[in-house]
Symmetry: C2
Subunit: 226 residues, 2 copies
DNA sequence: TTCCATATTGTTGTTAACAATAATGACCTT
DNA sequence: AAGGTCATTATTGTTAACAACAATATGGAA
């Protein structure tokens, strides 16, 4: 399929993207044992690039692979999901602090404008939580890159977010508390605009902590079955 | 070479380990462009498993690979090394906090015993900083696994430590302040033994922060050329 | 009927040959 | 002489065939 071939992208990269999005979207169910040839057929690939992609996925913790026994999508327990949020809390706290020190004024202005558009989206389509989820992702994405900490951004964007998003799709948008989250986003950006790194870190940590407790609550109420 | 074939380990894993240690030890210089066939010859591999290992290394940020242009070991600037320490600070702080909550009494006792052996090592072989470096690695390794946070341990042990160790070898043991570091280790373990997570987190963050400033100082003094 | 051993089968791991692309050098033009 | 363009070459990316291993099913014995 060379319909949407962007640029000189290798087949292995293609395979990697395909599989990653498939996992995140839930097209490949966690725990499901899946053969290589079946994957090849499903994504129009050959085993060489597929294997390379599989290795990368495994290295990122999205798949587990026992020698000669096949691969399967990793299944994360509720407990492990909470652990992911604990990691996010400290790492994104750091990202917010460094972003407050390093983002350009232009970037901060753009970020504020983004929040405005998120607000109108939420008001217009209340209930359509999809935009909120995307907006939330966009917000955290910008903070991560704004930290100018290459490795930090790489770990957040390349590792953690994919695992979290994997559950976002299944839980149909994590929080369901769009207004409150947006308010918290605004306060974080205000702190960044004032170049108050400590405050930005504190607010970001509290923000993610709140999100974690929200999910924890839902799970204990039996509203979410992971 | 089946001289030291431990167990049913796939060739790709073998290749991955070989390359990773070669990078960490400095046998593969950063920035050096190296061909696949040359790597195959050097490590007695074929291109299939090598390629898979290369993909994993790239995904972990230890190598960069431009399509059709070859691979090269990533070269990290002094600034980026400092960023790694910032990340370690928050992540290992979290690890220490969770370790204080979750390590077994036995594990804590073992950890204390390990510190004792480190102390005798330092006293006996003052100057032989290698053991100190290994001991330091061992200490942080135990805390990471003791957190019972799978993903956190994976990120620390699988990603960050390798990049840091890569420079340890080049700088011939980072700190050169063994006694002070050991004292800090002791206080951290004390906090863990008392199940004081907050204190353990605080002490661990301060410990890594001190290590970072130590290196920063050496760099600004021109004692280290990265 | 249940348990174990064995052979089969289907899978993964590996290898080597093939094709495509980018780097390199020579030649021509300005 | 300097710059650019084109052909060559060497490297990477890909493919398909081969080998090895593990899971499974079948048959027999207790």
């Amino acid at each position: 399929m060379e319909a949407a071939a962007p640029q000189s992208l290798t087949r292995a990269d293609e395979a990697f993207d395909c599989l990653q999005t498939a996992i995140v979207k839930g097209d490949l169910a966690p725990g499901e044992k899946i053969g290589e040839v079946e994957l090849c057929a499903r994504f129009n690939l050959t085993r060489g690039p597929l294997r390379e992609a599989l290795g990368r996925l495994e290295s990122r913790g999205l798949m587990v692979r026992r020698p000669h026994a096949g691969v399967k999508v990793v299944s994360v327990s509720a407990q492990e999901l909470m652990e992911l949020y604990h990691i996010r809390e400290v790492m994104e706290g750091l990202a917010a602090r460094q972003a407050a020190e390093r983002m350009t004024d232009q970037e901060i202005a753009d970020l504020q404008a983004t929040l405005d558009s998120h607000e109108t989206m939420i008001e217009q389509a209340q209930g359509q939580a999809y935009y909120q989820a995307e907006g939330d992702y966009d917000f955290h994405h910008r903070i991560a890159t704004g930290s100018r900490n290459t490795k930090l951004a790489q770990m957040l964007l390349g590792d953690l977010y994919y695992m979290v998003r994997m559950y976002r799709y299944r839980l149909s948008t994590s929080s369901g508390r769009p207004h409150r989250a947006l308010g918290e986003h605004r306060r974080i950006v205000e702190a960044i605009a004032q170049r108050d790194g400590e405050l930005a870190e504190f607010l970001m940590k509290r923000h993610i902590n709140a999100a974690r407790k929200n999910i924890e609550q839902k799970i204990s109420d039996g509203l979410l079955n992971i």
